[in-house]
């Protein structure tokens, strides 16, 4: 079997000839290391997400270009009509568009998971003796970094356009923190859909159907006071409204305990309900 390598000139010198000895050295069984902790396994999967960003930096497009376009578009589209000037509108609008952009980006968690499953690499992860949710938690850890990046990009654009948060650095950090907590929790909705839907396209389709009403029928763009009563009822219970209210308050230097509490309750609910559903599907697929 190895003869062809020597008779053919001009072939790459690296024709692989399996050698029983070389293979023997790597097959010699050493002691099995202890199983990694849940945290260590999750962080290792998070490291995988980092490596993927390093190798496929194009995937950062949706967390950089998309948010910039969103901020510019809506600031100048609505700014003059809804407030005295785009700059005035921005003081109200920036926390909202930050929430909208980041919440919309959460859907890529589902798309990414679906692609992983399609490619088969999840089969290997699922046969590893590690803490079961680690692969998904690690994936979301990677996504959280993308959310932070998107939030920072939007903040940068906002500051350049004249956004002046009353809460200062601490207020802004608190606002981004709340947003990241919610987005982490909300990502579990998409891991579930990523597992049950058959293709990347259907995951996209479902997420759009959920995300558009959720982000637009809220207090992001305008004060809900002008909306008809039935719509106000929806806007009021919409978790995005609660999130925007608490982020807005934090960035302006005050606080909105009731909205913050509701938003944290929603987050806990998403993790409990969709985290459980996700793991159920993940184990049974």
């Amino acid at each position: 079997m190895s003869d062809t390598a020597t008779t053919r000139t001009g072939r790459a010198p690296s024709v692989y000839v399996p050698s029983a000895e070389a293979l023997g050295t790597v097959l010699a069984p050493g002691a099995r290391p202890p199983r990694p902790s849940a945290l260590s396994a999750s962080l290792t999967f998070g490291w995988r997400a980092m490596l993927k960003i390093k190798h496929v930096p194009e995937q950062l497009f949706d967390v950089t270009a998309f948010p910039i376009i969103m901020v510019l578009m809506f600031t100048y589209l609505f700014g003059g009509a809804l407030a005295d000037s785009p700059r005035d509108y921005l003081q109200f609008f920036l926390p909202g568009i930050m929430v909208t952009s980041v919440v919309m980006i959460t859907m890529y968690t589902g798309v990414g998971l679906n692609t992983d499953i399609e490619k088969g690499v999840f089969d290997r992860f699922r046969t590893l003796p590690v803490w079961r949710p680690a692969a998904l938690v690690g994936m979301i850890i990677g996504d959280v970094l993308r959310y932070i990046l998107a939030a920072v990009v939007i903040l940068g654009v906002g500051l350049a356009l004249g956004f002046r948060p009353g809460g200062g650095l601490l207020g802004v950090l608190a606002g981004i923190g709340l947003l990241v907590v919610f987005s982490f929790a909300f990502s579990w909705v998409w891991t579930f859909f990523g597992l049950i839907l058959r293709s990347e396209k259907s995951v996209m389709g479902v997420s759009m159907m959920v995300l558009f009403p959720l982000t637009f029928l809220s207090n992001v763009f305008v004060d809900p006071g002008t909306m008809p009563g039935w719509l106000q009822a929806f806007v009021k219970v919409n978790p995005v409204t609660q999130l925007v209210a608490s982020v807005r308050a934090a960035m302006s230097g005050s606080s909105d305990p009731s909205s913050t509490m509701w938003m944290l309750l929603w987050s806990a609910g998403f993790v409990v309900v969709f985290g459980t559903l996700t793991m159920y599907r993940y184990n049974r697929r």
């Binding site: 790597v26 990694p36 490596l51 088969g120 699922r126 590893l128």
Partner: protein
């Protein structure tokens, strides 16, 4: 937990599994002795992959019981996972990552510290001839290299049982031989290998025992020799110059061999099984006699060969239906996944 395990590596008892309307596993039984290569042979859609997925804890069976080294694959899945490894039909490494990164990632997940994981990755890459490719993304690997990194990833922890799902499908002959050598080395070090394949000669080359799978059940089981002799040790293929002579050739062959002769779709081709009692010399003698008889009957033969029965022929003999019809089933299964 000793590495050289004796007894049975796998015991599967009447496993069933359906995907919607399609019954992928229809009560499959398996007994795989530890320390051997065991072949699951069957066409696409026979249920081989589903069986592997159930045994590797990726899929729950609808009914039946399966144990791997005595651990139930459903209720003791974690104990099973600690001892098995899987190289799937599709890439089971991350194509966006480099070879080294993939191995380090898996090493870390199996509990190695970073320096140890890195060392292990380097050793594996060297043993699999991938040192130079270590820093390249796996999606840039050739088919053979990809298979090798897949298998390297599977033996990171030197498993007690390795599942190889059609490891050579789509590979060129040289890469296929490399994979065969690797499998031989793996089993020589005490790891049990469950190999699925569509090729009889692959199972023949590697496996100590083979189970032929069709429509989700085992239809025959034994050593390669036993299986082949149950089908006839060889097959005579011949092609005539003149299609008009085929009916006559059929008669002559039938008389000479004493077995039914099959007319192929090709109007000049005929096939017959010979050597029913399993001795190869017998097959050659019968074939020689048949060729002589054809010549004396004035039939011009363009091409004449005696070969091992193909999977198709084994199938035909065991099931009375050709293996290829299973393709549609496969499509259905794909869709149901």
């Amino acid at each position: 937990m000793s590495r050289r395990t004796t007894g049975l590596a796998i015991e599967a008892d009447a496993i069933t599994r359906s995907f919607g309307e399609t019954r992928a596993l229809n009560g499959i039984d398996l007994q795989v002795p530890a320390g051997t290569v065991y072949g699951l042979l069957g066409p696409n859609g026979a249920g081989k992959t589903t069986a592997v997925r159930v045994l590797a804890t990726l899929l729950r069976p609808d009914g039946g019981r399966a144990r791997v080294f005595g651990h139930d694959v459903v209720s003791e899945a974690d104990a099973v996972r600690a001892r098995v490894s899987l190289t799937g039909q599709y890439a089971s490494v991350d194509e966006d990552l480099t070879g080294t990164e993939n191995l380090v990632l898996l090493g870390r997940l199996l509990g190695l510290k970073k320096p140890a994981a890195r060392q292990r990755a380097e050793a594996l890459l060297a043993a699999f001839g991938l040192t130079e490719a270590g820093d390249r993304q796996v999606k840039k690997y050739s088919g053979g290299m990809r298979r090798r990194i897949d298998i390297a990833a599977s033996i990171l922890n030197t498993p007690d049982l390795l599942f190889l799902d059609e490891p050579t499908t789509g590979l060129d002959p040289r890469s296929r031989n490399q994979v065969w050598e690797i499998i031989r080395a793996v089993v020589a070090h005490g790891t049990t290998v469950l190999l699925t394949t569509q090729y009889l000669d692959e199972a023949d080359q590697l496996a100590g025992r083979i189970a032929v799978v069709d429509h989700g059940r085992v239809i025959a089981e034994g050593t390669p020799g036993e299986l082949k002799s149950s089908v006839g040790s060889g097959t005579v293929h011949l092609r005539l110059r003149d299609p008009g002579q085929r009916p006559e050739a059929e008669k002559v062959l039938q008389a000479a061999l004493g077995v039914p002769v099959q007319l192929e779709a090709d109007p000049v081709a005929l096939t017959a099984r010979v050597g029913g009692d399993g001795t190869d010399l017998d097959a050659s003698k019968q074939a020689a006699r048949a060729l002589g008889d054809l010549a004396s009957a004035g039939i011009v033969v363009d091409d004449f060969s005696v070969g091992q029965p193909s999977l198709d022929e084994v199938f035909l003999a065991l099931t009375d239906h050709p293996a290829v019809t299973a393709d549609e089933r496969d499509d259905q299964l794909e869709a149901a996944r």
